[in-house]
């Protein structure tokens, strides 16, 4: 578990995480991620001009999700964090998706 046994992540916490330690902080990587995010933004704007019909929403959401993954993993540092944070984020996402899907079981079959 995360406070007493040796659960090593890229950030091996010598003191069980009580004192946060920076590991190879880098300006460059973050700027690259930012450039990627700008690129994805311009892609999503351009794509919205093309008539994809019902696929348009899906594409837009996929691009937004990819952008979000970059922000979460790099800017929010989740990629380099202890496993427990990744599990937490997964749980949160799962609950939200599940609730959305179940609500749509009502809507899709009511508004046919």
């Amino acid at each position: 578990m995360d406070n007493h046994n040796s659960e090593h992540s890229e950030h091996s916490e010598h003191n069980d995480g009580h004192i946060a330690e920076a590991h190879h902080p880098s300006y460059g990587v973050n700027v690259l991620v930012w450039i990627g995010l700008l690129a994805l933004t311009s892609i999503t704007v351009s794509v919205s001009g093309i008539n994809l019909g019902s696929l348009a929403l899906t594409v837009a959401l996929i691009i937004a999700t990819v952008k979000t993954m970059f922000v979460i993993n790099f800017f929010m540092h989740l990629k380099f964090d202890n496993k427990v944070f990744k599990i937490f984020v997964g749980v949160c996402m799962l609950i939200f998706i599940v609730v959305l899907v179940l609500t749509f079981f009502d809507l899709t079959f009511r508004y046919e």
Binding site: I19, P25, F85, L107
Partner: protein, 212 residues
């Protein structure tokens, strides 16, 4: 088991809580989840009404200025970058550079709010607001679209304000050397909050501005 102790002769006791950056980060992430679910409820409503009124949403979205939305998206993405660069700077013990990046972040946030002010202002001017004159002539789906637009971007804007306050507080602590290259968790936490506000906008932008 009442004790007849003269309490004035005792030392003052307080429970001493050791610093725990990991726990502090965990608390912040958990708080972010509550924000996700808060906006999540709104996104469920959005999804529902877009499903029910697909054509009306397209129609209503034409009232929005896509360029303005895109600019705001770039502003927020940049502000997320500068927050992270600020953290890196502090970790490398460059306090001045850190504060510079934090100032850029704040300016970006304020710019976003200014843009929002003009956007909303333009709509109010045209009578496009809940119970407003323009909405009386619109279809139900369009009314739903604008209801959602105001609540979601309004709530988001409120979170920008809160985020800026948090960042301002943390900047003050950096200036006072409370937060340093060996004590920066609170700055990271402020950054986490800010990134979430950015992520919410990453979804709001295509959902409101890019429906054609």
């Amino acid at each position: 088991m009442s004790q007849n102790l003269d309490t004035t002769q005792q030392e003052i006791h307080e429970v001493h809580i050791h610093r725990d950056d990991f726990g502090s980060k965990m608390g912040m992430w958990l708080f972010l989840f509550t924000e996700v679910l808060l906006f999540g409820g709104m996104f469920i409503l959005y999804a529902s009404y877009r499903f029910i009124y697909p054509n009306e949403f397209v129609l209503a979205a034409s009232e929005l200025d896509m360029l303005m939305g895109a600019i705001n998206t770039v502003i927020l993405l940049t502000s997320s970058l500068t927050v992270v660069l600020g953290i890196v700077a502090l970790q490398k013990n460059n306090k001045k550079l850190c504060l510079f990046f934090m100032w850029v972040t704040v300016v970006c946030g304020l710019l976003f709010l200014v843009n929002k002010y003009f956007e909303w202002g333009a709509k109010f001017h045209h009578g496009i607001y809940p119970k407003g004159p323009a909405l009386q002539d619109m279809s139900e789906g369009e009314v739903m679209y604008f209801g959602l637009y105001y609540v979601m971007t309004g709530l988001h804007g409120l979170h920008i304000v809160v985020g800026l306050a948090f960042i301002g507080f943390v900047m003050w602590q950096i200036k006072k050397d409370v937060l340093t290259s060996t004590n920066f968790q609170r700055l990271e936490n402020a950054g986490l909050y800010w990134h979430l506000v950015d992520i919410i906008w990453i979804f709001l932008f295509p959902l409101f501005y890019l429906i054609h």
